[in-house]
Symmetry: C2
């Protein structure tokens, strides 16, 4: 099926290239779907079957659903068999979410070994390390000889061609993890040596392993701190269950980072990728929450209507108060949220963060307050108005620094995500407090 449409031609070129990846195929498919939904479906069949399941996993849920509903069940089961155990589990869970009836049909068609692995991995909570591990590993016991391992290696390479092979896991007879050995270590020993002898020559260091029920966010911290390539996953009795590899974890870390940027603006990545309607709906939800808060600031202004009626220059300067407060407060929020995300949560840090943000708020408040006060004096030719706006800015920016750090710290303390709640509450608070201070000072000092 050939075509003249450029994006489809590009797609065909991509599929024939040497270094094609599921990710790049998925991105092209998405672009095709923007242009023509029908073309998206017809191009699915061009994807090599050993890559197709991975490509589907990279698609947004709506396209994933569309694709799995169109593919023949037997073909679907076949392409899933090319997935590593953690991804196969992920695939079945997505299927359960968007098309449970298809999942019911597909599951019995899978190899019984893959079924067992999926059901084992599905037992873990999505927050736990176990849910992210691969179970296809090369392992051997201490009494095995190098020659045995070479045989195992040959078989592994034949049947699990695409699986990552970073280290050999060494177990004792009961399946307890004793060591992990780099393949270059094995190279230096003769066929007749046992693994126990190899391990003895290595610098004695307990292999780094984590428990299967450990929270995955602890594991990401570990990878970040130690620059790991891989970590073994064990159960409560130190028996090997699987391993987690760096690329899965880094994808997770990047997703967390991305999610944070989205959260702070009141958007959500999954909603954005899902469909236009879900993006619009999610953003509207956030605007509604904000709207309630905005009316608090409006009410403060309403309280001072008479004052504004007498000196309308106050209305002209109100946007200055609001914008500066929001600006300085958000600087403090961004820096504080980041520090909390990096784990600076002890009381020691809290004191340090608060005093830093208040200090910066006060200093920048004084500098900006003096400047704006002078400008206002010359602009409106009312000397006291210059004093009022200057003072109001100094007070408002000091409070913005305090709140910009105090809000995230407080949310964190009560286990609420500081990235979601802080920017909203901060803007409301600096608006309302800023108007109150500015218009209140005006009422007292200008009449």
């Amino acid at each position: 099926m050939s075509t003249n449409i450029p994006v489809v031609q590009q797609f065909e070129t991509l599929l024939q290239s040497n270094h094609v990846t599921p990710h790049s195929i998925a991105r092209h498919l998405q672009e095709i779907s923007y242009q023509d939904y029908g073309l998206f479906l017809s191009n699915l069949s061009k994807i090599p079957k050993d890559l197709l399941a991975e490509v589907l996993l990279e698609l947004p849920l709506s396209l994933f659903k569309e694709a799995v509903s169109r593919l023949p069940h037997k073909k679907l089961a076949d392409v899933i068999s090319y997935l590593e155990s953690d991804k196969a589990t992920d695939f079945m869970q997505r299927l359960e979410k968007v098309a449970p009836q298809i999942k019911e049909v597909i599951y019995p068609l899978l190899h019984s070994k893959q079924q067992r692995e999926i059901s084992r991995l599905s037992q873990y909570h999505p927050d736990e390390a176990g849910a992210y591990m691969q179970t296809e590993l090369l392992w051997a016991t201490t009494d095995e000889h190098i020659a045995d391992i070479k045989e195992k290696l040959k078989i592994f390479r034949k049947h699990k061609a695409g699986m990552p092979l970073i280290k050999l896991f060494v177990l004792d007879e009961e399946g307890h993890l004793v060591a992990t050995v780099h393949f270059s270590d094995l190279l230096l020993f003769g066929d007749e040596k046992t693994l126990a002898e190899v391990v003895d020559t290595l610098p004695s260091r307990k292999p780094l392993s984590i428990r299967d029920h450990t929270l995955i966010k602890e594991v990401t911290k570990l990878f970040r701190e130690f620059d790991l390539a891989m970590v073994a996953v064990v159960d409560s009795e130190n028996r090997l269950q699987g391993c987690i590899v760096f690329d899965d974890i880094y994808d997770l870390i990047l997703a967390e980072e991305e999610a944070q940027a989205f959260k702070m603006s009141g958007t959500k990545q999954e909603a954005e990728e899902e469909s236009l309607f879900s993006a619009q709906k999610h953003r509207l939800k956030w605007i509604f929450i904000n709207l309630g808060a905005i009316f608090i600031a409006a009410s403060v202004v309403n309280f001072f209507r008479e004052t504004i009626e007498q000196i309308v220059a106050l209305a002209v300067l109100m946007p200055v108060i609001a914008a500066l407060g929001g600006n300085v407060g958000n600087q403090a929020v961004t820096v504080t949220v980041r520090r909390l995300a990096l784990g600076e949560t002890s009381w020691q840090y809290a004191k340090e963060i608060l005093s830093k943000e208040i200090y910066i708020g006060v200093i920048n408040g004084i500098i900006v307050g003096l400047m704006v006060g002078t400008v206002a004096y010359f602009w409106f030719q009312i000397p006291m108005l210059g004093v009022v706006i200057g003072l109001a800015i100094i007070i408002n920016l000091s409070i913005a620094g305090l709140l910009g750090s105090l809000l995230p710290l407080t949310f964190k303390h009560f286990d609420i995500d500081p990235a979601i709640a802080s920017p909203l509450l901060l803007t409301t608070a600096t608006d309302a407090i800023g108007f109150f201070v500015f218009l209140g000072l005006a009422k007292i000092m200008l009449f």
Copy 2:
């Protein structure tokens, strides 16, 4: 030197633990410096010398400078010798920046081999892949036998204990990169086989390599897309120069992600980590830029002073216009900046992004405009005021959606970082346009 201060006791426990990392040591040191600057210096001497240089690299520049000025020159040269070539180059470049006179003294004290590597790597621009590569590699030519490689491996492990060893690089006689071989591949061949024979049995795939002058941001894209563990770096004639390993790249990707969050709020990570003064100064700079913009919005309001004087309820509703416009615009900016960062820069995407954001702006504008219009009607009992604010919100939010996507796209087109410039210009524009539309409609429709 023992002490009763808890943070120092924690530090000593950390140093004795099994899995201590330069990163964790550096974080503890920083915490100590917050409490007592003198203690920071005295605790430097407790750090093992094979880790010290890496710890110093993890410190903010101000502490780095303090530390290198206090350490004896000979000790400094000694600890640098434990660094991999890319990190040693980084170290000397930092030294050049904060204390060029110390760098002049230290450089001649380094091993001549390390000097050569540093001077070679220093030739690369910090944007180029060459600046990030390690030059300590295990390589061999096609005519070497497995037995030769085992000898090389022994020597490499002895002299470069901590160096990462992911693959063996295979070169021809002229130093051209022919293949990369996993150590588990070598395991399956006898001592008498040559590398050429090993390579022949592998699935024929050109090794993935990049040019030394390739931009590092292209390399990070490659790692993201292909989940690489390592990539070989070659010169224009395909001669092996070094390799780039995943952990360096992922640190870089994470740093980019972090930098973006900071930029959008007008803060800068390095300035924040450097010192209180530099953080305050950098944030003030941003407020100043903003201030100019804020006065544009104030001038728009000033233009309508008489209108506000007659109906002061307009001043009450001004914050609603400003906050909603900023909110909706920033949602669009965040999503668009993220999409551009992920490489969605073709014209096809631009059209798709613009129409998406305008659509969402219009829909949410209509919903929110109707709501706020109704509220304003009941609040102020002026029917036309409800119509005016409702209409103004619909127009303002549609424009916010348009600008929130158009600004980043335009900046990107002119090669200006969209994350820095967009949020600022957006807020000014939605404030000024929002006030103009709202107060202008009021002037026309309310009198």
